[in-house]
Amino acid sequence: MQTPQFQGTHLFDRLCWAKENLDGVQSDYRVVYEDNVDECAKILVPDPNWMACALQGGILPPVQVYWELAKDEAQPDFVKHTRGHLLHNTKPVEAMTEEQAIEYLIMKDCPQSVWREWDSGNKPKMVICRKEQLPATREWRNAWKITDDLATDETVAA
């Protein structure tokens, strides 16, 4: 399925096209991160329809656009977005692999304080893993932290 030329098309309209023409892709990847030492680990779950857009290409704006909008919203005198056109007029990103899509999503939806310095502390603040590596039950969900010893075949949060 060829993506139409979407530069200049409102992102909402692109998403409508994607909803009609693409099937959602449930990713097995999860991003476990800790942005507050006093809270349990959080887990980022990609949206299947968003993942389909990322894999298709030509739909999503560059992740830097979201950073710019976040900067605007952080201003004390922010009232309403005036640079929303960046979402619609910036050249969309090309098709990504699933791994590239996860990296994009981290930079879009995880706090910058986590991914910019994910490995600078006593232990990693962020881990990309498969959902099977998460605990099987949520009985002690509010106690989950990233484990100190990480291996690719072991549970990453406990």
């Binding site: 959080k42 980022l44 779950v45 909008l69 879009k108 939806d109």
Partner: protein
Amino acid sequence: MANGKIKADTLEHSTAGSLDTKFVVNGSSKAWVNFNGTGTIAARDSFNLSSLADRGTGQYTVTISNAMSDANYAAFYTGQKSSTDDGYVMGGIGTGGYTSTTVQVTCQAGSGGPDDLPTVNVANQGDLA
């Protein structure tokens, strides 16, 4: 007409009256999701979402792709614990509860603390950026 555009200020039905198209544009949901908040969190279906974040028992963050124009949109929440119980879903709780791209959601069943719900629905209405 395929892939065309109809510019109209009013839609009129043969018998049920007419509607200003502003109501259609302003009244439609700009983002929605139905997700399972138990086990491995996952969206069953959605529109204009980029991710869900599992923040702990009964606590989630919904993040959208096309931002709203500000944080003053209306977000609607429902949840269901089981076929016989209803759950309570609250949004915008705590610091950073609402931004133009995220809403923090807290769910609970009964009078206890936050609780995972097997069905959580969130929908946003307002202006897009």
